[in-house]
Amino acid sequence: MKKEIIRLENVSFDYGDHRVLEDINLNVFDKDFLGIIGPNGGGKSTLLKLILGLLKPTEGNILLFDKPPNEGRKYVGYVPQYTLVDRNFPINVEEVILSGRISHTDFLRRYSKNDRIISDKVMDIMGISNLRKIQIGKLSGGQLQRVLIARALSTDPKLLLLDEPTSNIDVQAETDFYDFLQELSEKMAIILVTHDTGAISSQVKTIACINKTLHYHGEKNIPPKVFEKLYGCPIELIGHGIPHRVLKEHDD
């Protein structure tokens, strides 16, 4: 039996009077590779924030590594949407990655030799060692995303949480990216959240759909009707094509 790392029990969340998430139940296990898909405004970001303890649920219970989220999150490597990063900020690649080690620093918040060894290692893994002194505004979208993943990996996580990771990255880079995640998923659990059904590739083992409520599909195919219900726009989805092809691969 694999170890359970996330448990959401009957979780609901309200922004003021507006119910964003209703009665969510979700269990994630060690080394799972879960894709959560849903339309914009469907509550994806809220769900992530709840898991990370940045928001508190209005109702229900959340456990992260058997602890409340604000304690369990030290095992989580969080990769925010790179499009939300302030590109003008005067910070270089190495400084961004080192900031993943901040909770390990001494009382003067200085990075140790070990922190630097780790940051060198994750830069190596992500293939960005040559960019270390570059200010982040000068990076391409794909490079910046790799920097954010490296920062998350530098925290030595047991779970990697990625928010909209592939928006605007070209197809070849995207394929490489999923191959890389596939490799990584042998060492840690991965949760990937996106509105782009095409971004859920065949490497993703399990899928959940979210639009206020959450439907967990395990390793089964998702009937097209679910997509219709989810996005309220079947034509676009049929036009998309990709989800059907991708999801069928789960049959074998």
């Binding site: 999150r73 030290k74 990063v85 900020f89 005067p90 270089n92 901040i102 620093t105 918040r109 990075y111």
Partner: protein, 267 residues
């Protein structure tokens, strides 16, 4: 020569001390986009000055206490309010200012010229003012030196910092309190209303020349000193108000450099 007069030496010293505080904290104000909330803090500081005058307590010291207190409230409000953060900051801004004016009108007897607090009057800087400014700079320097990496991580990505268990609210309030201290350092040089200019212009100028925060702080410190010396020198030579002259020198220089830089990068 004007340089031999004690008041001129005091003025220059005050200018340099102000430039140090602005160089360090102004860089954070610019990169973390705290300009509006800093405006709120600086205007609310006027409440402290009014209260100090009314109680017969040193107005600058009272402004320290008052503005650190109000910046903590502003910090909490801006994080906890789901919406209309700017409205709440605007309200604090106006209430602090109004409270200061109100208290000053309740003060019996002689009340110093209001405009020297609003627009600064570097000629009236006393030795004790300089001592206060110096001490505040030491506090600012020590805190930023010992928290540098934490402030950097927090300023760059607040959400990620929170996930890595940086005490985000505490860090934010410390940063805003440092803005409050900087505002107090600036009061006698450029005044409450013009403090915003020196919190932003040297750092914004420095950001044209560098890509890392450390260098930005160092460069904006040097640029701040240059602006101060130029501004104070010009105001003495031309017999113009010091605060306004310093701000005009800073503003025109920044905008010119910005224009030159964008022309260069275009071509």
């Amino acid at each position: 020569m004007v340089f031999e007069y004690a008041f001129f030496q005091n003025s220059l010293m005050a200018g340099v001390l102000a430039a140090v505080a602005c160089g360090i904290i102004g860089s954070y104000v610019v990169v973390k986009r705290l300009v509006f909330i800093s405006g709120g803090i600086s205007h609310a500081a006027f409440g402290g000055i009014g209260l100090g005058l009314f109680l017969g307590f040193n107005p600058l010291l009272m402004a320290v206490i008052f503005s650190v207190f109000s910046s903590s409230i502003l910090g909490i409000i801006s994080k906890k309010a789901y919406q209309r953060e700017d409205t709440l900051i605007g309200a604090m801004w106006a209430i602090g200012m109004a409270f200061g004016i109100f208290m000053i009108y309740q003060t019996p007897g002689y009340v110093p010229d209001l405009s020297s607090y609003l627009f600064g009057n570097i000629l009236t800087v006393s030795r004790s003012d300089i001592l206060i400014m110096f001490s505040l700079n030491i506090i600012i320097g020590i805190i930023v030196f010992t928290r540098y990496n934490e402030f950097l991580a927090f300023s760059f990505d607040e959400e990620f910092s929170e996930v890595t268990n940086v005490p985000v609210m505490k860090t934010y309030i410390i940063l805003l309190s440092l803005v409050a201290l900087t505002v107090v350092v600036l009061v006698s040089v450029v005044g409450i209303i013009l403090a915003m200019a020196l919190l932003t212009l040297p750092a914004a100028t420095a950001s044209l020349f560098t890509n890392t925060l450390k260098k930005m702080i160092a460069i904006s410190l040097i640029i701040g000193v240059i602006y101060m010396i130029l501004g104070i020198g010009l105001s003495f030579l031309l017999d113009q108000p010091s605060g306004a002259t310093i701000v005009l020198v800073s503003g025109v220089t920044y905008l010119s450099l910005l224009g030159i830089k964008s022309l260069i990068t275009k071509s």
